[in-house]
Symmetry: C2
Subunit: 339 residues, 2 copies
């Protein structure tokens, strides 16, 4: 049994306390329990079954892990922050659900998407319910914190929609700049990681400077994370990555790799595209352009730079060494991860 409320760092007399606690598995376990403890109304099943299906489909649980770890880092029992952790995972899954309808995607985490398994009306409506449920979980905190928590959450949600809109706009543009791309992924991906870190800190009563530092950490981690995701889509190990390698190239998605290749070798790129190659050859030849421009290494330089900046941001947050080690290690893993 965990104590009801941790008064960190007063409980640190046991030097093993943090090393046992500050692991992704520890937080992930709390989250899985929180998710499986969600009580859904029995009826109408058509509304709630897809929500359960979506949430129980797994995933890294990165956002709620960040939220709980950030709360714990500032001395708050993760159990206290669990509603918000579940809320942020619910929100993230809502965005995936609706994105899958917009992208007409067939598979998510190795299973049929909701709009394939059910239909798109179900996917839209269940997604709407997930957004409202996420808001309910977010609001389930101390009344004195509620206005700030809600403001942070709603602002982040708006930014994510903006990011998704830019992402869709980019499909119809061939002049997207690297800066525009980075701003798009900041909005679409990073701010939710940042929000998770900041809400965790807020729930623990962290000071503004520390909460801002945690936000900045999450934001930079998010950039590194998404750039690594883009990298893996082209250069990942098919056995580990979980989806088809080269999907971004086949769909001519404006990733960091694509945008740079277009900026530096547009003619070669367009020649390849004009030839209407098979998917296999298209991926192969575009990768050759990427390689010739040294884009994989340059991408990794950028990822490492963001990761270092994220780790540096932690020094502004008043958190104990053990917590800092956890967040540092998490950032390091984002650079080296293979899936």
């Amino acid at each position: 049994m965990r104590p009801v409320k941790l008064a960190f760092p007063l409980l640190c007399d046991d030097s093993n306390y943090f090393s046992l606690m500050f692991t992704t598995d520890y937080f992930a376990e709390i989250i899985e329990r929180g998710i499986s403890d969600i009580v859904y109304p029995a009826k109408p099943a058509g509304l709630f079954a897809p929500i359960r299906y979506t949430l129980e489909g797994g995933g890294k649980r990165l956002r709620p892990v960040l939220l709980l770890a950030s709360a714990e880092a500032f001395g708050c029992n993760p159990e206290v922050a669990l509603p918000q952790a579940v809320g942020i995972e619910m929100f993230h899954n809502f965005t995936l659900l609706h994105d899958d309808v917009m992208d007409n995607a067939d598979v998510r985490r190795g299973r049929p998407t909701v709009h394939r398994r059910w239909n798109s009306s179900t996917a839209i409506l269940s997604g709407d319910a997930m957004l409202t449920m996420a808001t309910q979980f977010m609001a389930d905190c101390d009344k004195s914190l509620m206005p700030d928590v809600m403001a942070m959450f709603n602002k982040t949600a708006m930014e994510i929609y903006m990011g998704q809109q830019y992402d869709m706009d980019f499909e119809h543009r061939d002049d997207v700049t690297v800066d525009e791309y980075l701003e798009m992924i900041r909005l679409k991906t990073s701010v939710l990681l940042a929000c998770a870190c900041r809400i965790g800190a807020m729930l623990a009563g962290a000071d503004e400077k520390s909460a801002d530092a945690m936000y900045r950490y999450g934001e930079l981690l998010g950039l590194a994370f998404q750039l690594q995701d883009d990298y893996l889509d082209t250069y990942g190990d098919p056995a580990l990555f979980g989806k088809e390698i080269g999907g971004d190239i086949i769909n001519e998605k404006k990733t960091w790799l694509w945008i740079n290749a277009m900026a530096e070798a547009r003619e070669r790129m367009e020649k390849i595209l004009d030839r209407k190659l098979t998917d296999y050859l298209k991926v192969k030849e575009i990768k050759e352009v990427y390689d010739s421009l040294d884009l994989p290494a340059r991408s990794h330089e950028l990822i490492t730079r963001y990761t270092d900046m994220a780790i540096n941001a932690l020094s502004e947050a008043g958190i104990p060494a053990e917590a800092r080690a956890f967040f540092t290690s998490l950032a390091g893993k984002s650079v080296s991860r293979s899936h």
Copy 2:
């Protein structure tokens, strides 16, 4: 200029005060200003243009009128309740936007639906943003009221999704009972009117008994309103109703009229449907069944009963005579309205 904060009933020495103020037009004008004052980010236009288009498409503004009138009835300056009034209208329009995608509807309020004018991805994403913006407007109130206002709003939102799911489920069932139908329209339509009335009262600091009475008024009004809507779909004046008469019959929608006809004259109904008639003849013959069962008059009896119950509920709310007259008149109009 209105006083910044009304301390009703202290300002009632002027006997014309309420009669000037308690009109639908007065509240609707405040709402239109609130809606046109919404500041949208300039970019990305693809996200915000459809929101403005949807909100500025008109409509009865019934929900925000109820919210402001309820606030005013308990002595709160409607300007204070304006964010929540805009929020509830934003929420209502979000549900219409997503419903239109689910129903694949072409026209809303005489103009192309968002997914027709833009596309369904835009409609889904802009709708999501409207839900979050609605939540932001709702949260824009005194901090001490925020937990209760948010709880009321989120609970109502969940009920509305449930109502929409039941509505979709009913399409594939031929054994829907009248009670099930009434519960569906209560969830899909009534609870939002009820929520509007209750939040207005809450913002004005009304006691629980009064707030509950206003909720009950809105709920019963909503039932009367939706039954009248169903009636008008079949029996309305085409020149006034704004959409094609008989649409529900053509689509074999399980309305109160349809369900009763199926319960009392299933054989006749099925014979007509088996003949695969033209829309015109189908509407004509089904209407003849409705008429032979006296359903128009029986429908109006039920509408009148709900309206009377709504008006009676007002007696439990501690509101002045002039406010009560306003809500009574509004309920009366729902029975007699022709569009």
